[in-house]
């Protein structure tokens, strides 16, 4: 069994309204130190396979098929073996 921790980020240069509005809200709440907020999505996916290479190939496919839209998203992941 492997666990893939996948992070879907916005590409550099793509506007992040959620981050921007969160920053504004934090400022309103008195957190004057907040300089910038960026958002990303995190998925933790358990894969029932014994082969790390196969797990990696699966995760690549998953990212392209659903989790990331290449127009705005970059993705990265860590794969760990679990018991």
């Amino acid at each position: 069994m492997f666990v893939a921790d996948i992070r879907i980020k916005l590409k550099k240069g793509v506007a992040d309204p959620e981050g921007k509005n969160t920053a504004k809200a934090l400022e309103l709440l008195g957190f004057s130190e907040v300089a910038e907020v960026k958002t990303s999505k995190f998925f933790s996916i358990h894969l029932d396979t014994h082969d790390e290479a196969a797990a990696k190939a699966q995760v690549e496919k998953i990212c392209l098929a659903l989790l990331a839209n290449p127009v705005i998203n970059d993705y990265s992941y860590d794969i760990k073996k679990v018991a």
């Binding site: 509005n21 504004k24 809200a25 309103l28």
Partner: protein
């Protein structure tokens, strides 16, 4: 430990105990009630002792928990029933078709509509996003289980002032901006996702809600008459099919949580009582339930709300005079290891129970599978009026349903106070010009534009919303009095929907406040051209064990009942929420109504925005009744003299106005409420992009501030095209007073030669528009 030896283990492949009530003394009974989380009183525990003594045994813990749920204030209305019966249950009408989980009313020869409003206060105070979302889920199921398609959501909300300094917050209380933001997001994300438009609501801000916000949620449904269902099983042998979400530990003891006062520790103690919602389970549940309903594949249904399986199984079967046998093993669970009592009382969301004959079972299960919704047979209807529950082959509960679902009923002591004892006559603490007072009122939290909220809710999905919550010129639309739906494809008949509440008046004089709420509801409905047809009420009060609080409740219900009876407006559904108190005290007595009205032709609906250069009439009489008014709150004044409603005057004015509207004589109309005549005309000007000149000389010898800002009941401002004025006056008679005309781009209010108010349209709109955006953030 004081309870040692009172829990006797029963031989079973899971933890199960018998609770030896027969061996417990009073102190131990109280301890058992507290430790089990059931919240039963000592008297109620003693009723249990007696019941089981007759049976010659002690209850299992499952039985104890089932009673705790069924007998909570939230489930059985033990403190309020007697008062409600005296004043409102009796208002009947042939238009009422059913009084189930939602009330059902006649709409036209083929169709009915249903309505209900209820509270979701305590969960929202602890976790605003999830609390509000699950509130929507629950009210939608109430309408759905009558067989109705949900077509509208309505949300009156009450919070502390948004500018409350953090230092003033009681321990454990969340800031009103956090609660308000979270509740609106919860309603938005749930309501928008399930595709039911949120068409009406209100937001009230006052210090009394800081420790205990109120989140009331209402829903309207529509159905063809032949697709209506009762909340009861069809007959012996019916399968009980549990559909929708899985059962988990979320929402355990929700009803007992709702029936206690909030404390600083409520958050940490009660997280388990807040359920999590899942709108994307709900949407296919709605779809599938309506399909099996339309195809007559079920005999009855009910939603799982407060009390979970325990309440729904008992009530479904008992309503038909039968009993039920349930296998808890068959209930699909979110996590392993739930104890039988937890499964039995869990209030997990998105669940409904259907009664299905053997013959239709396969088809029903197929429809749910097709829509990816879980459906499982968990029990069967039996002839004896009993609930019998098994888990892993062992009987864990057997109780008489009459005893279980009956519940105690109290006639608690109440103290009815005269308003003049509580509220002194106090002059304004500050001097402010009338123009400034108007601009400050328009900018005040309780009157300013709600567009920050409204645009976040989808109010037009389903494509039936004829009058929307914001009405007027594009880009300048202002608040309407009611929204209007055209719910049936083949008909132009419309359903108008509004909310009404006035806690400030009710806090001073609950009886007059009760009448005033009904008056406001009627004003709102008539303003759009609708005949008031029915209302559902949500009564949010403090601790009913305090005589003063119950006295407020008694008087408020008396006032509402008197007005509704006189005006022939039945209330086929309602909800009482007591214990709205925190460490800083009780909320103001807050009666909220969800009113519905019928418009024979939606093409005749009327909005609040000024349309042309018509003349303006004031309908109704203005008195120096400033108690509880927005003007008094603004200036720091107070008075026990709150507006009173003359029900005959109201009835006659409504009738005359509706005749004039039917004849097409009215181009715009707005009810006069918070902030009085001056605020009402300002709103009409803003929405219409049009100024007005009014002369209040003809109102009689009133103090200037009363003429401008009094909130006397039963009043409207009406714009009438000049060539219709004569006919309008003939219909309205002395009820209508000509006070001015729509013209220019400025609001000018005079009394004879003297100028009382003068402000440009831009000044009015700027004052009114920005407040919530400023306090809540976000770009306007």
């Amino acid at each position: 430990m004081a309870l040692e030896g009172l829990y006797k283990k029963i031989e079973a492949p899971f933890p199960l105990s018998e609770v030896l009530l027969s061996k417990a003394d009073d102190e131990q009974l109280k301890l058992i009630a507290a430790e089990s989380g059931t919240g039963l009183s000592l008297d109620e525990m003693k009723m249990l002792v007696a019941y089981f003594k007759d049976l010659g045994r002690d209850p299992t813990e499952v039985e104890l928990q089932a009673i705790g749920q069924a007998w909570s204030e939230h489930c059985c209305y033990k403190s309020s029933k007697q008062i409600l019966r005296e004043f409102v249950f009796g208002i009947d009408s042939p238009r009422v078709i059913d009084r189930g989980d939602a009330g059902v009313m006649h709409f036209d020869t083929e169709n009915v509509y249903s309505l209900r409003i209820e509270s979701h206060n305590h969960p929202s105070a602890v976790e605003p996003y999830g609390g509000a979302a699950t509130g929507i889920g629950g009210i939608v199921r109430d309408v759905l289980c009558m067989g109705c398609q949900p077509v509208a959501l309505i949300d009156p909300l009450f919070f502390g002032r948004l500018d409350t300094p953090n230092a003033e917050l009681p321990k454990g209380t969340k800031h009103p901006t956090y609660l308000f933001g979270g509740v609106v997001s919860g309603i938005r994300d749930y309501g928008n996702r399930i595709g039911v438009p949120t068409i009406s609501g209100s937001v009230v801000f006052d210090d009394s809600y800081t420790g205990n916000c109120l989140v009331n949620v209402g829903c309207i449904g529509i159905a063809r008459k032949e697709h209506l269902y009762k909340n009861r099983v069809g007959g012996i042998g019916d399968n009980l099919v549990l559909v929708g979400g899985r059962t988990g530990r979320d929402g355990i003891h929700g009803v007992t949580f709702a029936s206690a006062v909030l404390t600083g520790e409520s958050e940490t103690e009660s997280r388990g009582a807040v359920q999590l919602g899942d709108p994307i389970t709900k949407e296919p549940v709605i779809h599938s339930v309506l399909e099996v309903g339309r195809r007559k594949l079920i005999t009855g249904m009910k939603d799982l709300g407060g009390g979970g399986l325990s309440c729904v199984c008992g009530e479904l079967a008992f309503a038909a005079g039968f009993g039920v046998e349930v296998q808890l093993d068959r209930v699909p669970l979110k996590e392993d290891g739930l104890l039988p009592w937890e499964i039995w009382v869990s209030e997990s969301q998105e669940r409904m129970m259907l009664a299905v004959t053997d013959e239709n079972l396969e088809e029903v299960l197929h429809i749910f599978k097709f829509n990816d919704v879980e459906a499982n047979v968990v029990g069967r209807v039996i002839p004896e009026p009993l609930a019998r529950v098994f888990f892993k082959g062992i009987k864990v509960l057997e109780m008489d349903l009459k005893f279980l679902t009956g519940g105690p009923e109290y006639c608690r002591p109440r103290e009815i106070r005269k308003p003049e004892y509580g509220t002194p006559e106090k002059a304004p603490a500050r001097d402010v010009s009338h123009t400034d007072a108007l601009l400050e009122l328009l900018a005040s939290e309780n009157i300013c534009s709600r567009d920050w909220v409204i645009h976040q809710y989808d109010h037009e999905v389903r494509g039936c919303t004829v009058l929307k919550p914001l009405q007027g010129a594009l880009g300048h639309a202002c608040h309407g009095d009611a929204s209007v739906l055209k719910p049936v494809e083949e008909s132009w008949q419309g359903l108008a929907v509004c909310t009404a509440t006035n806690p400030w008046v009710m806090a001073i004089d609950p009886y007059r406040g009760g009448k005033a709420v009904i008056d406001e509801m009627c004003r709102n409905l008539v303003a759009v051209g609708a005949r008031p047809d029915a209302f559902s009420n949500c009564l949010n009060f403090g601790n009913p064990e305090k005589p003063e609080r119950l006295g407020e409740f008694h008087e408020a219900v008396r006032g509402m009942g008197e007005a509704a009876a006189k005006l022939d407006i039945p209330t086929p559904s309602g909800n009482v929420s007591f214990y709205n108190e925190s460490e800083t005290g009780s909320v103001m007595p807050t009666a909220v109504v969800l009113g519905t009205g019928i418009i024979p032709d939606v093409r005749k609906s009327i909005t609040t925005d000024l349309k042309s250069d018509g003349v303006i009439y004031l309908v109704g009489r203005t008195g120096p009744e400033m108690g509880g008014s927005a003007y008094h709150r603004l200036t720091g004044a107070s008075s026990p003299k709150v507006p009173d409603t003359d029900l005959e005057v109201l009835r006659d004015a409504m009738k005359a106005l509706l005749i004039a509207m039917d004849e097409g004589l009215v181009s715009s109309c707005h009810d006069i409420s918070d902030g009085g005549l001056a605020v009402a005309i300002a709103e009409m000007c803003i929405g219409g992009r049009k100024g007005a000149e009014l002369d209040l000389e003809s109102l009689g010898p009133l103090p200037e501030e009363a003429a401008l800002f009094s909130e006397s009941c039963s009043r409207w401002l009406v714009e009438v095209p000049r060539d219709s004025a004569e006919r309008f006056e003939a219909i309205l008679g002395p009820a209508a007073t000509l006070i001015g005309a729509a013209l220019g781009d400025e609001l000018l209010i005079t009394r004879g030669e003297e100028i009382l108010v003068s402000a440009s349209l831009t000044e009015l709109e700027n004052a009114w528009r920005g407040t919530l955006w400023r306090l809540m953030g976000g770009s306007e």
